[in-house]
Amino acid sequence: MTLSADRGVSLRRGGARPPRRSEAGLATHRWFVTPWLFLLPALTVIVLMVIVPFVNTLGLAFTDSTLLREGEFVGLDNFRRMFDDERFTTALLNSTLYTVCVVPCMMILPLILAALVSGAGRLAGFFRTTMYLPVVMSSVVVGLIWTNMLDKRGLVNELFGTLHMVAEPVPFLSDRWLLLFSAMFVTVWTGLGYYMVIYLAALANIDRSLYDAAAVDGAGVVRTFLNVTVPGVRSTMALISVLSSVAAFRVFGEVYVLTGGTGGIGGGDLTMTMLIQREGTGLQARTGYAGAISLFMFVILGGLLLAQLAMQRKQRTP
């Protein structure tokens, strides 16, 4: 497309005969149609798998429909019920706490790791590979590994016991808060490698002369990190904060596996996505109610993203 357009311009500049109407029309046609042809596969997937379900969910949220029953418009009833539902309050609290705790870890720890392993040595390469390994494992496999590690009779408690650090096994998988923090730990452990790779790319783009200048000025490692590295990857940090916020608020796999698919004792570790899954699946699924919770979650995430974008814009403004 670009070629055709450019050729048209160069011909005109060269003073050659102006393109005939049909040639110009063809060029315009190509200019208009070709990009859409390239976009078509992706657009089809997005429309079918994202837009249509989203619009559907939007409609369902205001009905009392179930999986197998035609719904009726019920206005805001689903949203009223949501705020009376103790499971919703629990899930909202857990997902919010998850985001608040996980996002700063995801922004800072991978950067430190990336800074440590950004060299070209063999050892750095080894650590880069090792740290990336959890990324390629499924969250279920990771969850199962950590379930066995953190169990009452698992490796961690055995180790604590052997070292006489605890009199009783630590209830990593039965205490509501410990389980949630264990799941956060698993999420961070899994995500470190992924975000580290993004930071490595960002670090490679920082002008080396800035480090040389900092060295000449006598800046130490910490000072150089804070004054050169961090400002150099600020936009990447913003990107990671967005990506990790969305991922953390939508947490499912880690908590699901660590709780054995139950949502924790008394449902104390339910998260938003687990609640949606519980209400929106199965033969008696209340799709209307599940749609309302999904819509609420969308609004929260959308608000979060807009707030982050606004903050970034503010930071960029001198």
Partner: protein, 431 residues
């Protein structure tokens, strides 16, 4: 309220799913059953986890024999993993591609029948009733849906209680005096809690069928509302609360599902396991040390022992309804049920099959004892799980609410009230 168009409830994902799962579709060609009463055409028969070395030859022979008896018919057998089978059924039902004959329990059948997807066998084939045990037929007859019968009863399952004699002795209990009622079980569990800190008698919260075994009324007479939050239900939860306060089981165990309970029994940390007819073999093969110390008692109950039922339902929209009905009836007929029951270590639901020598003659082998006692237990047992208590969400909510009561976050009454409200709301929403 304004009526809206039927939501494409199953969103685009399910539409795609239905395309991918056309193999499970209503199968068969477009022609209808022939008018001369002769069966013809093809149907799809769906089972779960039954296509394996043990059962495949049985089903292949079964289908071949049927097709031979009915020339011109074709049965397409589809088997899928049982995990999340309700979700798979949901996708099929919502996409209108439910197979013609499906293996399912009454709790799944209830919701599908409520949606008008299943054939009322009671109306379509009223003579069939006499071919099955009355209690099995009743288990598939749903009072809450006007008394229709929505599946041919297939196999039944119940089992004894298993005890670890070594643990009972170690914790000050007499293995010769096994508990037979819940009151005795709770008393012995308290004794065990006093003597042993690392083992327990009970490792799982009561499920809805356990409430039935305790004698709690589960639903009203019309089968429209749950009632397990009455005085008897509260008393039952209080017994668990007292036991928990006396360290009769750990906080971790409040979250246990059946698989974890079995694991703990096999690991020798649990003294009591309510089993099924195939638990004995499983223990023999996977936990030989526990098997050596096994004591077997009757299923614990204060009213009647529990049993489970599996049925074959017929898709009400099947284009080959006559063929589907005939095939479902054939599979659940006495002769075929008996062969299957022997192979699968379950009990037949067909009338008279339990009188077979296989279920009545004791040769002294532990497996035979369990089988013979199990068959005798079927005669007293009740399918306690109300069909309207559908899906895992009801069960999860009940377990979570009981856990909250035990942790002191709410009273037993409040916990059961909340659980009943939730289940009633779901039932009404689908009504």
């Amino acid at each position: 309220m304004t009526s809206v168009r039927r939501p494409s409830t199953l969103v685009a994902g399910l539409a795609l799913g239905s395309v991918l799962m056309t193999a499970c579709g209503t199968g068969g060609d477009a022609a209808s059953d022939s008018s001369d009463g002769k069966l013809s055409g093809s149907i799809t028969f769906q089972t779960w986890n039954l296509k394996n070395e043990k059962f495949t030859p049985y089903f292949k022979d079964l289908i071949a024999a049927f097709e031979k008896d009915h020339p011109g018919t074709k049965i397409k057998w589809v088997d899928q993993p049982a995990e999340g089978y309700q979700d798979k059924l949901s996708a099929d039902a919502a996409a209108g591609s439910l197979p013609d004959v499906v293996d399912m329990g009454p709790e799944a059948a209830y919701t599908l029948a409520q949606a008008g997807v299943l054939l009322d066998i009671g109306k379509a084939d009223p003579k069939a009733e006499s071919q099955y045990l009355d209690k099995a037929w009743q288990a598939m007859t749903f009072d809450g849906l006007g008394g229709g019968t929505y599946g041919y009863p297939w196999y039944l399952n119940t089992g004894p209680s298993f005890f670890n004699k070594a643990l009972l002795t170690k914790c000050g209990l007499d293995p010769e005096k096994l508990p037979t009622t819940y009151d005795q079980l709770f008393d012995q569990a308290e004794t065990m809690a006093k003597s042993c800190s690392d083992t327990t008698m009970i490792a799982r919260m009561p499920a809805i069928e356990t409430f039935g075994e305790y004698g709690v009324p589960l639903m009203d007479a019309g089968g429209k509302k749950f009632t397990y939050n009455g005085a008897k239900g509260v008393e039952f939860v209080e017994r668990f609360r007292e036991l928990y306060a006396k360290k009769g089981f750990s906080e971790e165990q409040l979250n246990n599902l059946q698989t974890k309970e079995v694991e703990e029994f096999k690991a020798g940390r649990l003294a009591y396991l309510p089993g099924s007819s195939y638990t004995l073999n499983d223990l023999k093969e996977t936990a030989p040390d526990v098997y050596k110390n096994l004591a077997i008692g009757p299923r614990i109950n204060n009213s009647a022992p529990n049993m489970y039922i599996e049925s074959l339902v017929v898709n009400a929209t099947s284009k080959r309804q006559a063929l589907a009905t005939a095939f479902a009836k054939y599979v659940t007929g006495s002769a075929n049920q008996l062969v299957f029951a022997k192979k699968a270590s379950v009990f037949p639901s067909s009338a008279g099959s339990l009188d077979d020598a296989y279920f009545t003659e004791d040769d002294g082998d532990p497996a035979t004892v369990v089988r013979v006692e199990g068959a005798a237990q079927v005669k007293k047992a009740v399918v306690w799980w109300p069909p309207a208590f559908s899906g895992s969400a009801d069960s999860e909510t009940l377990r979570e609410q009981i856990a909250q009561a035990l942790l002191g976050k709410k009273s037993a009454q409040q916990a059961l009230d909340d659980s009943v409200t939730y289940s009633n709301e779901r039932l009404d929403a689908n009504g």
